[in-house]
Assembly symmetry: D3
Homo-oligomer: 332 residues x 6
């Protein structure tokens, strides 16, 4: 089973998932996709990072258990991604960097802890795929991304805009990360996009406010009316060139596809629509990503966890595909 051969520092080849013939997939430690831990390799390209935090939640809590759940649901991910023709764990060293310790009682402190951890890993040249946690975590992650890359495009999959101002006087919650990020100048206002929006809103002004922050909207209904390919085209047109941060709230999926989340809204995407759209951005310069709002207490049979794990896999495949293509371009 050469695709699972441990390599890492020894061989110069990235070290991949644990060989299932040595340890069956239902066994062993639950790192993401059974990948090595950060401390098991000498260098790495991409880190999967847990942000176990849900103190910014307005409805159902529980996303603090999200990272563990997504990891447990990722054990069937295998080395080869046929649609993008890439071996995401071989063309780059992907590791699991564990969870960041975040204060469960003080949002500001917690946000700072995650930002510090993300900056530290980013400083080591690692791209991050973060497993939430509630959507509050996107702000400190964007701060760290901005520190490395300057203003970025945000491709945001969600049922909700997440550009509210404050709630109960709190500036940092799962409903506000992208407003804060825009205010802090972390985003490129010409290249931000929400995908999958559908929920009822507080007021007509919500949409105008949102647009003023630099976002455009692809609704869930557009998938029904126009299909995935047309959405992908719109997405690519909006994102253009330059660094992209992808933030996936699993509530972008229909509750049938993601029951285990905190703010469920009927009428969402299927898992297949989401995965194909993500795959469709191959070639764009994805410099970081997150998958958030998995609340396992409401999940069943890991339906939500598996969807989130596959979202992570698609993102890693896109990153890997880009790495190969970039290398090829640089060679020629």
């Amino acid at each position: 089973m050469p695709d699972a051969q441990p390599g890492g520092a020894v061989s110069g080849r990235p070290r991949g998932p644990v060989d299932p013939m040595a340890l069956p997939r239902f066994a062993g430690a639950a790192t993401f996709a059974r990948l090595p831990r950060l401390d098991e390799v000498t260098s790495a390209d991409v880190a999967v990072l847990g942000a176990p935090f849900d103190a910014g939640t307005t409805y159902r809590p529980g996303a603090r258990f999200g990272p563990a759940h997504v990891r447990a649901s990722s054990k069937l991910l295998r080395p080869y991604h046929p649609a993008l023709d890439v071996l995401p764990f071989e063309v780059q060293q992907v590791v699991d960097a564990g969870d960041v310790g975040m204060n469960p009682f003080d949002i500001v402190t917690a946000v700072g802890q995650l930002e510090a951890a993300a900056r530290r890993l980013g400083g080591d040249g690692l791209d991050l795929l973060t497993l939430g946690g509630d959507h509050t975590v996107a702000l400190p992650l964007l701060r760290a991304v901005h520190a490395r890359h300057g203003p970025v495009a945000v491709l945001h999959f969600d049922a909700h805009l997440d550009t509210w101002d404050t709630a109960w006087d709190a500036p940092f919650t799962h409903a506000t990360p992208f407003r804060r990020a825009a205010e802090e100048g972390l985003l490129d206002p010409e290249r931000c996009l929400h995908v999958g929006i559908r929920a009822s809103l507080r007021a007509r002004s919500d949409l105008a406010d949102d647009e003023g922050l630099g976002f455009r909207v692809v609704t869930s209904e557009e998938f029904q009316d126009s299909g995935v390919a047309a959405v992908v085209e719109r997405v690519r047109a909006r994102l253009g060139e330059g660094p992209v941060y992808v933030s996936v709230d699993v509530d972008v999926l229909d509750p049938a596809h993601a029951p285990g989340t905190g703010t469920p809204e009927a009428g969402g995407l299927t898992g297949r629509e989401l995965l194909m759209t993500l795959r469709g951005i191959a070639g764009l310069d994805v410099v970081g990503a997150d998958v958030v709002e998995v609340a396992p207490a409401y999940d069943h049979a890991e339906v939500t966890g598996i969807a989130a794990a596959h979202v992570g896999y698609e993102l890693l495949a896109v990153m890997g595909r880009n790495r190969i293509d970039r290398a090829a371009r640089e060679t020629t």
Copy 2:
């Protein structure tokens, strides 16, 4: 948060949902969409009414707990409906009229109790959105609608025709409401339509019988083959002008989208298809509606309850949109 300002009788403006900043969405009494109770306002336009009854069920019972479940699942509904550009709780006073006491042991008595309650509310000029209960409840509701509006078109979303004759000698069950309604002259036989039909039937004659009662059929498969827009067109063509009653059995949804129901059939609609179709009838004269057959004991993470709550929201938005447009037309 002006959209949640209590108004009601005092201000002359409709009183909306409880302000979430005063009482978070996970708190407070579970009226539909956190709206005021009927006894809290001086006048109202639309009443959400519970019909907790399941003695007419042939397979899985439990819809007696449906109204409470749909209300509990409706707490995230917000004031503004972007697709129809309407504030359904502001352009009309919507209230929760509570549950009707229905005899759980005697179907005929229970049917009479609901009819009486519906006539009383209708007599006060209230349009009803009823939360079932099993589909037996549609008959007394149609009787009350007929008393106000004469024969109506029925737009019926369901996996099943519900035009059987009797079962175990019982004339009033969840399998028979539309046959009884047709026999009683409550329906306009030129304008009735089933949408989402797919289940296996007892006999070839079921379809012919059904057609004889004035119904036409849009199957679930037509959504797959032709898409929502084409279905909407067929629906509008069939319903035409005049009063329309909308009856939504949640089993029109695929079991993945509505596990919590009594007579599940594979191959159904997605939540998005259902919501978009409902939205598509804006402009038609909806004079009453129901959402039935939510059986919470089989639900998970409120997946079914949320779908049903959104169905209710779409219907209220359609009613509100129509109210504005009618007012606009009358003004000019």
Copy 3:
């Protein structure tokens, strides 16, 4: 059905639960035990109050949905309590006072909101039975009780001591209410008692610290070794005369009896042991009580909710029994 006759202000008799013959138990609004709301009566003796809050939780969150769940699980509670030979809803006017709006993001603010609400109700002469929420809520409730009654005995049912100092620098969490209360002088250090303690501890010193605050311990194992009657005797001996506050964390029950809680520990009490112990304190001067840490997302078939609702019923029966006996003593 005279025991369910509405009385209230009109008749001078307390108004009891909704008559199930008028509205079956599976129907109607979910006030605790189907009792009237506070705003439906002219005066009341005891208020059931919801404290939907879980931002003080260290492990599984979700107790913010606790009040709604316990109310929904209380629909089968009937008027007559045979063991104490009392009609708890007839000898005193019990009402449901709804939920207190508590800030989900700021513990200090939320604690203040609950304290204010409890003081207000206490100021009106109402005794409180509070439905949590996590155990953080006990502190503001004790403050309000102290304002009316001075230092009180605490009878605390729990797997844990809840007398930690701080965690992540936060002084007010679900692990600290009784330390804070002791420090603030709210408790009578000669009359406090934990019942059901069993969990592993952080350090040997935990127990000594706890004893220093005025608490003694009845372990879960004592129920096994000595039986309920012996425990009741110990409890009564410790509590003696004077006002008593009863705080019941449902995690005092074994996880088999209360899966729906945030910090489950094996080896706990059965529901019957808990109910009989509560019943055993009849005659003591219970001036307030709470039932906390019901986390519905982890419950099944309302097993935890039903246990918590019955805990509330026992406490109301004890209060009612005392009220009669006090009246009898005062008469003679």
Copy 4:
């Protein structure tokens, strides 16, 4: 595996459960305990009969699926009962007689259908162990037992008395079977007993009424205070000599032990207490029995189903033990 050898008519020996070496326990048709169907043997002593009916339910419905669930949960029952030292399937021919077709919409008709089926089987000399269904079914079963044996003692395990009069004008519901049976003269008023009673009551008079019908009460609390042995003694003293009918409502168990039931009450028996009490009546002349109120939609991991299946097994073992002892006595 001689204990599973098929015998039946051919060998003259009773035919037992399907041999698990031929067909593993997780496979094969779900007759009770994998026993033969009635139509597979030439003669039989005891029939397990399904009464799939729940139209007499006042709270959670679903017991119509009870017989199928208890059968599916009975697959691990093995041939030898060590405590009573009996092979219940070898000392008597036990068969599964399938389900009785009962009208789901008309209680009176359904009660008649069950009575007719029970009389027919009783006429063939079969003792019945009936799987409910809600407790309504006890009345027609007692009528059939009375037809064969005259007035019988009833040993009734339940949280509730089930001796209400009518509810919503219905005389035959799950709350009334033993009042109706007493009125019809089916019971021996000197020998009836409820065991496990604990729920709150409608009024103080409920108990007096019940006693007037010939019942005495062993509460759930007596198990805690006095232990199983003392309860067994009380039971045997009350039942004395003569035919006994045993009716077990699974809600006699604590909700932790029987979540899957329709009217759950906290503070109930453990499974072990129930099984040991049943075992304790060996020697009494059990002429019929039922296990009712299993509502599978609320069960988890067959916890309730397994408890009910073991209740059935204990009852069959008691019947078998009696058959041997009677034969031994008759021989000498």
Copy 5:
């Protein structure tokens, strides 16, 4: 209700499902679709056979309980299939042949037991619809089909290729049936097709290996991009004339539609897509079929079981339709 009239040997007409008016659908023995058992008829055309086996599973086990679960989930299937205009239980005698006893500890033995049973039934002229069990069972079933029909086309619905070689040295597992079948010459290498493939693979070579065995691939994404009709066309083009074996692994469905399976992969088919594709092969010569990998412990509200039961119904309808058409052709 003539469509449920028992006929069988007596009338010369096939005997259909149990009449629901005699025994409601929630009652009675759980044969597939409430059809007669094999031993209840004198001759039959199609047998539904259970293969309760999961020792070949690499991830979540539990498919050993699959046959019982699919049968329990099939109770709502009715006599008439409108889309194909056929009465599948009337144009052919369909029976339930029960479960095959398969050794749970020895795969080779178990495979032999199933092959023997399938050959025996095939020898009696019965076509088989087998309910798994894990996918290991496809190999012995194909051996038996080959014995009757020679090499067959395989139409294989699955997320996975199932053409691995060995795993942990075992040649017969749920990941290998079609490689073994190809090696044994059971398949027509020009006419095999996988539908619904989407999972990540072990290596790029997996696809080439698979193609070398005679398979082509329709991915799940093709349903999204091209629609069901286009897929059906591709399927029919590949399968052409000659005998076809259809093997449906329920994991071809998205986990939202089939949570109860052993190797779930995000991004799969909807139930409607699967059913319509199956229906689309009407006219092809289906000589056998299976539905496998239903693992009930992970199912909820029978969502997976219902989907699998409907898959079975579609296959029986296709077989029935073909039987009529063939007869019609032979007549003319």
Copy 6:
């Protein structure tokens, strides 16, 4: 929080669980009790070992996921055990040794793999606490224990005897470990004991056979009749001096306390009875232990997992207590 200070090799003090203030209990890698991995310390005394295997199961499979589930359920275990007054993670270095790779398709191979791993760890002087897996794993573990300690007493908690001979010709299954162990001379036939036995048996001879192998029986009913203290006395009398191996099948618990298991039987122990009995053997020379048969797919809210984790904690506390006492004895 000194009790959680990392020490390990550096400080000479054992390294304990991860400090929850650094990483909250809901976060971080799921080693047992958040202890260090074996590769993180320089030496260790006790290893927690996972044996993810369930190919020896006769009814519900799924124990292959047991080790991961018990670890996830162990996160609330804290450093101090008050009843035994011991710090189990401080008086001995306890580590998590991960899972053994066991062949899922070949029982003999898998048994060999576990034996080899256990011998290797035992050779390094480590005592083992093994997390199953099904009960098949006890045999290889006993072989490894025997290699170090010679014949041992077995204290076996279970509903079943597990001394069958073969099933479907397989010698090594979850029903046979103690017969095989006795035949291989691994056990001291004067000191073996089953505790909690209650299930129905295949035949009267089962008990005699079992006694012949050196076992005595404490039934579940003895806990009810005599209490825990009396059972503990019987246990200590039987086990006497010399090495003891403790094997805990979670099905010794009542299904209410352990729904998540493979062969559930009604009428079992409570969690508290089991934990107190385990605690009662402090002072005996426990040289190894296992907790087996946790099948997570049937668990709810980790009820079974938490019970199993606490069983492990009691066993580690007993081992630690003994270590201190031994050291104290050796000092004096």
